[in-house]
Amino acid sequence: MSNTIKVSVWRGAEEGEFESFEVPRQPSQTVLDVITYIQRNIDTTLSYRFACRVGVCGSCAMTVNGRPRWTCRTHVDKVATDGTLQVAPLRNLQVVKDLACEMTDFFDKLDRAEGKFHPTKTRHDDFDFITPDDKKRKQASAGIECIGCGVCYAACDVVDWNKDYLGPAALNRAWTLVNDERDGGNDVRLAAVAGDAGCHACHSQQGCVEHCPKHLSPTHSIAGLKRETAKAAFKGLLGGSD
């Protein structure tokens, strides 16, 4: 292990260039640590986003050596195999400055996918009885631990090609709700996720699955939505007349 690492970092916003830094290597160093080191010790004007620093908040994702990743849990040893790092902002999001992105589109799309609970009960009712091995519950649980990091969104080409595409994370959330037996919003939700901005735009490229740091599989969630929207279409639930 050489005792420094060469890092080239994106500076600027939509326009800009890569700038090189040399950072001392430390054991247990993550990519976020490297970026922090630069900001604290070399160039105090470097901008980036993070919050929890342990893989919970999903704020720190960047493009590291060409791959979208969470940086607070990416060990330098694993990615800088040749002693160099290139760090850029996440793809498919607007850059605020340097490595920090604006995520409003990403969140808006979660909302547009009806990625929110439609209650059927109130705070005055008791919890529903649902056993942990209930099939639908398991399916809902499979996709629930999304931290909204946007890595899948950055990895997906369809997001790039089709600006309206809701994207893997939003559709994954919609699928967990489709399987949530307590939820009463499936008619609107299925209408919201059908179509060429929704699940039908997905071509199972699986960049989302490949890169999701939480090992979720939006692809399979989206496939589930394709099946459910198809059923809904035949029941005439997606609206419109011939």
Binding site: S28, Y37, T45, D111, R123, I144, D183
Partner: protein, 579 residues
């Protein structure tokens, strides 16, 4: 407007500071109670992404199961708080948690874990006489905040993301709050947001200690702003330490983050630098003793005994069944592995880590404060937990009181009400404070941070005494002065993290001063506060709590007697209800 600095001004009916459990519940409740209100959530990062509610692992305390009761939860809370809790607040907490948890599950869509029979699962959490912690795996906070954020996105609630509150601005006649001065972090511009009501929900966060658990955006901003506005803070000496934080060496962000308590519960050993167990020296329960005892034992060991590579100690699970460890602690095992540690068959270096501030702004059960129009909820407030917070009472606190604050606000103000004129001098002064480093040549602020971390940890941390606190007090004054000589490169204020680091340090130093002052005043040991020179709990029946204020730039200190409004030390509500 200010004499020389032109700033933007916006208006809203309700301004919420922070998007943790308290802030988001405040916004949702205010909007639900009066949909005509314009509600704005301003947050130092992205909505729902920063703050500690998201980081909650363990879960949410609430008396739901047959056999448990409001009284029992209350007694656990007050006994855990070593009798200095404000009892009406604690009662509101335990009672309303029962409503809030159902609201979370039924109205917001949190999908909490279930028992095999389909009822909600409640697990054990240290210091409680009943298994009452509702959870979603060990990522309860993500579930809660994601669901809250979704509902906020879906509503007509304004978002001011990457907006940092820097000062609470009173009306120019001083009768109430007029709004909040903010920095739009994306551009670096100042913005005055005038509002009919302001909810302070920025969530405290003891990040002035070398080792700490909270997320990076938390730097006691709310408490510092409250002090500067002249509000009273209570119980500031009460800083909770979690026994096992990860320690990964210099310049690693992950240092300080939590290694789950359950590991000790499952039989994990703590080892010193020579790989020998030591906890039985401090408590017969060994590693399974309560948070404060284990933290203290470890601190003592680190001072006197041999330490590991980075100055910490080790936790190990390797004497246990690897399959069990892998299965039951999957998240922890992965997290360690990502940083190059083997939790299953190796020794992972750990250290006690500053976790939670029990102290904070004095407030009422309806979330009002001394200043009309200003409300407070969550970790920014003091009095609910007393001297120690039970694991699982933190998120209950922020969600319960956040919701109450929203309800109270909606009842107190009208949509489009005439907004008071802000005090222009206060705005001017606040801008001056924020801009002062920009006027000086840039220099490194890192050494100030390092010193603050070090001195708070050594002198005002897990174990304190009169001498160490005096040292800490003097150091803080020096550091404050030193910070005031350091400049920040202000060439581009857009997303200028270093400028914000400077502002963070300014706030942390101020709030640290109040911690030290309060700790100096309390001459006994209670809960999280341990005085080596007064190691015992004293005079429980006449318990007092500390209060601090900022007057003319100096922390002033007082104490007040605890009002045992529901139950006195030595009594129990449980006996009553049993009788």
């Amino acid at each position: 407007m200010s004499k020389n600095i032109q700033i933007e001004e916006t208006k809203t009916d309700v301004l919420i500071l922070g998007s943790g459990g308290a802030g988001l519940f405040g916004a949702l409740h205010a909007k639900a109670a009066n949909p005509d209100l314009e509600v704005t959530v301003a947050v130092k990062g992205l909505l729902g992404k920063c703050g500690c509610t998201r980081m909650v692992q363990g879960g949410y305390n609430v008396a739901l199961a047959p056999g448990d009761s409001t009284e029992r939860h209350f007694m656990d809370t007050v006994e855990g708080g070593k009798w200095i809790n404000r009892q009406d607040l604690a009662w509101t907490l335990v009672e309303q948690a029962q409503v809030r948890i159902r609201e979370l599950e039924n109205e917001l869509g949190c999908y909490f874990d279930r028992n095999p029979d389909g009822t909600v699962h409640q697990k054990a959490f240290a210091g409680q006489t009943f298994d009452r912690t509702v959870h979603k795996g060990d990522l309860t906070g993500i579930e809660i905040i994601n669901r809250l954020a979704e509902q906020v996105w879906a509503r007509d609630i304004k978002r001011m993301e990457d907006h940092r509150a820097v000062a609470l601005i009173p009306a120019n006649d001083g009768t109430r709050i007029a709004g909040v001065l903010m920095i739009d972090m994306r551009s670096g511009a100042f913005r005055m947001v005038r509002a009919g009501a302001v909810l302070l929900a920025t969530g405290g966060g003891p990040t002035m200690y070398k080792f700490h658990t909270p997320s990076g955006d938390k730097t006691c901003d709310g408490m510092a702003m409250a002090l500067r506005l002249g509000l009273t803070l209570r119980d500031m000496e009460m800083v909770q330490f979690h026994p096992t934080g990860l320690i990964a060496g210099e310049d690693t962000r992950i240092t300080g983050t939590i290694i789950e308590e359950g590991l000790r519960g499952a039989g994990g050993y703590l080892l010193d630098g020579n790989l020998e167990r030591f906890m039985h020296k401090y408590d017969e329960r060994g590693e399974r003793a309560t948070r404060d005892i284990v933290s203290r034992g470890m601190f003592q060991e680190m001072r006197e005994g041999t330490t590991a590579k980075h100055g910490g100690l080790y936790i190990t699970m390797k004497h246990l069944d690897p399959a069990m460890v892998k299965k039951n602690f999957k998240g922890m095992v992965e997290r360690c592995a990502d940083c190059g540690f083997d939790l299953v068959s190796g020794n992972v270096e750990v250290v006690p880590t500053a976790h939670y501030m029990m102290g904070g702004v004095v407030f009422e059960p309806d979330c009002t404060t001394e200043i009309p129009g200003l409300y407070a909820a969550g970790e920014d407030t003091g009095g609910v937990h007393g001297a120690n917070r039970l694991g699982g009472n933190g998120v209950a606190n922020s969600t319960v009181f956040g919701g109450i604050a929203g309800d109270t606000i909606a009842g107190a103000i009208n949509a489009g009400m005439a907004l008071p004129e802000p005090d222009r001098d206060a705005i001017e002064a606040a801008i001056g404070l924020c801009r002062q480093p920009l006027e000086r040549p840039a220099a490194g602020i890192d050494q100030v941070r390092t010193k603050l971390w070090h001195h708070m940890w050594e002198d005002a941390g897990i174990v304190r005494d009169a001498a160490s606190l005096a040292r800490a007090g003097a150091t803080l004054d020096d550091l404050d002065a030193e910070l005031d000589t350091i400049g920040v490169d202000g060439g581009n204020l857009a997303y200028n993290l270093t400028w914000h680091d400077w502002l963070n340090l300014k706030n942390l130093i101020l709030v640290s001063k109040s911690v030290v002052a309060a700790a100096t005043a309390r001459e006994d040991s209670r809960g999280a506060h341990f005085r080596a020179d007064f190691p015992d709990v004293r005079d429980l029946e006449n318990s007092t709590f500390t209060v601090v204020r900022l007057e003319d730039g100096k922390i002033t200190l007082g104490t007040a007697p605890v009002d045992f409004s529901r139950v006195k030390p030595g009594e129990s509500l449980l006996d009553e209800s049993a009788a």
